[in-house]
């Protein structure tokens, strides 16, 4: 038993003080560690089965074993040093309280790329503008879902977006077509390229509806620097 305890102390020391200077390590630190360790084992810290406690965790890991940064859980952490807590931005508390239940349900898995269950996807989806083209970056091919046939011009993007049936951005388009009137712009036909059409259809099928466009509408995202010339 005593050997076991000593072993724990040592692993604790090496795990927690990677940056501690060597000459500080002796008796004082050891005493401190033993007493802290005693406290923490009472708090069942040792029951937590994650071997890589101090290492960076991937988002995948977070999915299965979410780490809680609220101060109340500090006890379960090996040490409070070098760890930041949500509580220190008390905005969290007040905003959290205000949120409706749908939002609360989402937040635990909100950090994954495709986190939302189907029922959330279908309800509550906010409006979106047209999708811009997705040209292939250097080193990418069309198999990766991007456009190889592409010209980096305003005209190309405009025509590409005109192919889509989507909400017109009246703030930044000089004239938005009347919803009832059919589109009579000839430029569309000049771009009627079979490949692009097919690509567009595929893209929209794959990415719609956009799961990120759900939840409360925030009064945010003023793009800074537009009115300061």
């Amino acid at each position: 038993m005593e050997i076991g305890a000593l072993f724990l102390v040592l692993t604790y020391a090496s795990a927690y003080s990677p940056m501690e200077k060597e000459n500080n390590l002796p008796s004082i630190l050891l005493d401190e560690l033993t007493s802290r360790m005693r406290k923490e084992s009472e708090a069942s810290y040792l029951d937590i089965g994650s071997p890589n406690f101090l290492e960076a965790r991937s988002l995948e890991q977070e999915q299965y074993d979410p780490l809680d940064y609220e101060l109340g859980d500090a006890l379960y952490h090996p040490s409070i040093r070098d760890q930041e807590y949500l509580k220190h931005s008390s905005l969290f508390g007040s905003m959290y309280a205000k949120d409706d239940s749908a939002e609360v349900n989402q937040h635990s898995d909100s950090l994954n790329q495709t986190p939302l269950s189907n029922e959330v996807k279908t309800k509550n989806n906010l409006p979106a503008y047209c999708n811009p083209p997705n040209p292939c970056p250097v080193g990418y091919e069309d198999q990766e879902g991007c456009l190889e046939i592409f010209s980096n011009t305003a005209t190309f993007s405009r025509r590409y977006q005109e192919e889509q049936d989507c909400m017109c951005d009246s703030e930044h388009m000089f004239d938005c077509p009347d919803n009832a009137a059919p589109i009579l712009d000839n430029s569309i036909h000049s771009l009627r390229d079979y490949q692009i059409d097919r690509y567009l259809q595929k893209q929209i099928e794959a990415n719609f509806p956009n799961p990120f466009l759900s939840g409360e509408r925030l009064p945010i995202a003023a793009k800074k620097g537009n009115l300061v010339l």
């Binding site: 960076a56 930041e84 220190h88 970056p137 011009t153 993007s157 977006q161 009064p219 800074k224 620097g225």
Partner: protein, 557 residues
């Protein structure tokens, strides 16, 4: 006792028996701080000879090399050439531009584009190419990207601050409404591939909004600093805002966060820009437009393969800072998110930055660090930050001390100030003791008949006074007030927190107003050990030397 060099006087001194010993004091040079031009030659021994980039827009990039073009002040720039000369150009560092997309097909950007780390949250696909609008509104992200990583010597546009670094595009601003999910996923996107996140957005700068990150976003930021970059913490760079003198960036919960480095801007002659907001959470400044000469905007890449000379606002300032941090990370890739803030504090320069309206002066805090309410600790100096990053030793562990609180209903009178005090031992003898400060938060719940007329000041035990809330003429709120709002100050960086802190609240108003402070609690964040003991001082006039000396002297007491 001071003598001149004459031995005659020295010998005469000994004629009286009262004097025991006399020491000849040699004369030495005292240099005025802050105005000393950085000599890279003093910091690094073998500098390769360097030429200016040949890119056609480089002569217009006064923020990189200010030769006094267009009425600017020569040498008032980011001092990037000094960093480049040391061999640092941002290699293997990725900065994510969280914005309206990036023209990653731009010939000046395409080879510096990190496609793997990019994403388009506005249309849910991996390719953040900007959406066309008739007014070319969505050029913002492309412009920011060019400031960081436009390629060098390729005959196109100008050159980025870290021209060998990579940029990732995160398209997240371009939909009719913002959601918490978009923000959270953007700020938590690929935290081990992305080193630095640059943001030029936030709550509306209308001078009456008090808002900040919602819960998923807040979680993403905390996770980013705790776990990103394989545990070293992501660097979040924030534009402090374009609301002008009528707004206060402490009311923007993103800029005011401890976990973001909030950047303000100065124009080409050292004045603050007319659109600059100010707040005590600003850490440092870079450059942007605003001089009378219209050719003093920020020259960078533009949408559809073009170039521009008129990028503007504090949103142009934040990416410059991101570029400088990319240089520092190349110099030392072991820097934590806190190391970066310490480096920023220690190497930013007062230079010749000044408040055009003479409201805010440069002040020295309790350990000799000069700060200004508008500019934080001054303008970033790429040469200096890189030189110090190279020899940097990671700062000791950080602790969070709940230093106490005042609760009740304290009336703020119409014409006078109310002063509340918290006396603290800064968690002495507890596991959370803080002896050397980093950030300080005054978390307050206050209401007022007119919120915008309220002014708040926090004074440290060492006498440093931070204006943690300034008057906002347009804010006519009388209902919400502030609820547990964390007002943050960086001005007390390096100070010792033990003693009495005061919060002063008052109205700046023509009409009679009334308000109540319901709660004020003080959170101290910093280290138990002196932060710079392991660092060697290469330059005796540097800020590092001054603070380190102050800390050593205090330990002797």
């Amino acid at each position: 006792m001071l003598f001149d060099q004459s031995t005659k006087e020295k010998s005469s001194v000994f004629q009286t028996n009262l004097i025991h010993t006399a020491i000849q004091q040699p004369g030495f040079l005292r240099v005025k701080r802050g105005y000393k031009p950085l000599k890279v030659e003093n910091l690094v021994k073998h500098i390769k000879p360097h030429n200016d980039p040949t890119d056609p827009y480089f002569p217009l990039q006064w923020y990189l090399k200010n030769t006094g073009q267009n009425g600017g002040k020569a040498k008032l720039d980011l001092n990037v050439e000094a960093a480049w000369a040391q061999g640092f150009t941002g290699k293997n560092i990725t900065t994510a531009i969280m914005d309206d997309g990036v023209d990653y097909m731009h010939p000046d950007l395409k080879f510096n584009y990190n496609a793997k780390a990019s994403y388009d949250f506005s249309s849910n696909d991996p390719f953040p190419y900007p959406r066309y609008t008739d007014d070319w509104f969505n050029s913002h992200g492309t412009r920011c990207a060019g400031e960081v990583a436009a390629a060098r010597d390729n005959g196109i546009c100008g050159v980025g601050v870290a021209y060998d670094s990579k940029i990732a595009g995160i398209r997240m601003l371009d939909q009719p409404y913002m959601t918490d999910l978009i923000e959270a996923n953007s700020m938590g996107h690929e935290p081990n591939l992305i080193d630095i996140y640059s943001a030029s957005w936030g709550p509306t700068d209308d001078g009456k909004t008090v808002d900040g990150p919602r819960n998923a976003t807040m979680r993403a930021i905390v996770k980013g600093v705790n776990e990103g970059r394989n545990g070293l913490g992501n660097i979040y760079v924030w534009a402090s805002g374009d609301g002008g003198a009528d707004d206060d960036c402490n009311c923007d919960g993103y800029a005011a966060s401890m976990w973001t480095i909030s950047i303000n801007s100065a124009i080409n002659d050292g004045q603050n820009a007319h659109y600059d907001e100010s707040c005590s959470s600003t850490l440092a400044s870079t450059f942007s437009n605003g001089a009378k000469d219209p050719n003093t905007g920020v020259a960078t890449t533009d949408l559809y393969g073009k170039c521009t000379t008129t990028h503007s606002g504090t949103s142009a300032a934040a990416p410059e800072a991101a570029g400088v941090f990319a240089l520092a990370l190349e110099a030392n890739n072991e820097l934590t998110w806190r190391d970066m803030q310490h480096l920023t504090v220690l190497t930013s320069k007062r230079n010749s930055l000044f408040d055009a309206k003479r409201r805010f002066h440069w002040t020295m805090n309790g350990v000799g660090l000069e700060f200004n309410h508008l500019f934080g600790f001054g303008v970033l100096d790429a040469g200096a930050i890189v030189a110090l990053a190279k020899i940097w030793k990671s700062v000791p562990p950080r602790y969070h001390c709940d230093a106490g609180s005042v609760e009740g209903a304290y009336r703020i009178p119409s014409r006078k100030s109310i002063i509340l005090k918290i006396t603290t031992d800064a968690c002495k003898d507890l596991s959370t003791e803080v002896k050397y400060l980093e950030h300080v938060q005054a978390v307050a719940t206050i209401n007022a008949t007119r919120r915008g007329d309220l002014e708040l000041f926090l004074t440290s035990p060492m006498g440093t006074r931070s204006m943690i809330l300034s008057k906002r003429v347009n804010d006519d709120d009388s209902k919400d007030g502030f609820t547990k709002w964390p007002f943050m100050t960086t001005h007390t960086w390096g100070e010792y927190p033990q003693g009495t802190w005061t919060l002063e609240a008052r109205f700046s108003s023509e009409l009679p107003q009334v308000g109540f402070i319901k709660e004020w609690s003080l959170m101290l964040h910093g280290t138990k050990e002196p932060p710079y003991t392991e660092l060697s001082v290469l330059d005796p006039h540097s800020k590092l030397a001054i603070v380190k000396k102050a800390h050593e002297n205090q330990l002797k007491l």
